[in-house]
Symmetry: C2
Subunit: 198 residues, 2 copies
C-alpha cells in the first residue's frame, strides 16, 4: 500500500520550498487537497505567471516584469549613488524609509561559504560592471549586519575600493527610540565605538 | 516603489500553505525564483496533476486516482473489520506495521471545535453509511491519542454503538522497547490502569 503517484509527486515537489521537510510537505499536500483546492489552483497559476513574467532588471538585478525596473527607469533618481542590498525586501524597506533618492543594486543573495554561496551567487561580477559605469560616484553598502552580510559588505568594499570607487557602509548604533536598558550589549558597544562628535 | 504584481501574487498565493505567514511566503517566493526555477515549475505541474487526478475513494475516503482505491478493491482483505484513522499517513503507518488485514476508513480530519472542525469536516456521515453496510462487524478506532483524536474516537464510538456495531479502540500503553525510566508519566499511568492479566 502506497500513496497514489500524483500525491507522492506533490509531496516531493513541495519539499523544494525552503525549510520544508518530508513531514511538513505531507501536511501541506493534505491541507491543499482537503481544504484549499482553490488556493492550490491559484498557487499553480501564480507560479506559472511569476516564472514566465519575472526577469532580473538589467541594471539593478531586482525582480522586474520589464528589462529595466521602474526605479532604474526613473530619471529623477540620483544616478551618482548606488546602494547595495541583499534582497528586494531590503530595497522596499529603504524606500519606505524615504531617506535615499539614488539607485540600488540587489545582490539576490549574500556570500556565505557555509551555505555554499560564493561571489557568483551574490552576483558580484554584475555589481562590479554596474558600479563602474562612470556615473556612479559612491557605493553605499546596506547588506545586513549578520555575519554573512558583514562578510559580503567587506568583500564588495575591497573590490570596489581597488577600482577607485568611494565606498561607505550604513551606520551601526542605537535604534531610533531605543533605550540603553533594552538594547543588546553588542549594539550598545558598537554605538559607543562609533560615537560621533556632538 | 512596490514589488512587480506577479511577485506579489506569488507571495500571496504561498500564504495558503499551512504555517506560512507573510515573511516566510516572501522568503519562499525569492527562493523559488532565485534558486529553484525548475523546482517551482515542477511544483506547479504537481499541483495541477494532483488537483485533476485525485479523488476520494468512495469506500474509505482516502486520496485515490481511481473511484475505488487499491486497498478497498483488494478482495483478499478482511471485509468484516474496519479501522478508522484520521489521515492517509496514519493508514500507511498501520500498513507498514503489517498487523491488520481488514479495511480502513480515513476521516481526512478530526473533530476539533477549537479549529472549527465538526462532524462534517471529519466526514462522519460517510463513515456511518460505510460502517452499516451489513458486512462490517467490528470498527477499530485508531485516531490519534491527542485531545482531538480522543474526542473524535469517543464521538464515533457512541454513534456506532447506538447502531449496534462492535467498536474497539487501539490500546494505550508502553511503547515496544520502552523503558519505564524514559517514558512520560501519562503513558506510564495509562499502562498501569489498563494492565492485562499475565
Amino acid at each position: 500500500m502506497k500513496n497514489p503517484p500524483s500525491l507522492d509527486h506533490l509531496i516531493a515537489a513541495l519539499k523544494v520550498l525552503p525549510g520544508v521537510g518530508p513531514k511538513s510537505a505531507q501536511r501541506m499536500a493534505f491541507h491543499l487537497l482537503q481544504r484549499e483546492q482553490a488556493g492550490a489552483e491559484k498557487l499553480a497559476r501564480a507560479l506559472d505567471r511569476a516564472l514566465s513574467s519575472l526577469v532580473h532588471c538589467e541594471r539593478c538585478n531586482t525582480f522586474s516584469e520589464t528589462p529595466l525596473c521602474n526605479l532604474c527607469a526613473d530619471s529623477e533618481r540620483n544616478q551618482s549613488q548606488l546602494c547595495v542590498v541583499e534582497m528586494p525586501a531590503d530595497l522596499l524597506m529603504l524606500e519606505q524609509a524615504r531617506c535615499f533618492d539614488g539607485l540600488y543594486f540587489v545582490l539576490m543573495g549574500r556570500i556565505s561559504p557555509l551555505e555554499g554561496l560564493g561571489p557568483r551567487e551574490a552576483n558580484l561580477d554584475k555589481l562590479l560592471l554596474r558600479a563602474q559605469d562612470g556615473v556612479v560616484e559612491e557605493v553605499i553598502l546596506a547588506t545586513n549586519f549578520t555575519a554573512e552580510g558583514e562578510v559580503t559588505a567587506h568583500m564588495i568594499g575591497e573590490l570596489l575600493k581597488q577600482r577607485g570607487l568611494k565606498v561607505s557602509r550604513i551606520a551601526r548604533g542605537m535604534p531610533v527610540g531605543g533605550e540603553l536598558e533594552h538594547v543588546d550589549p553588542g549594539t550598545l558597544a558598537q554605538a559607543l565605538y562609533e560615537r560621533r562628535q556632538a
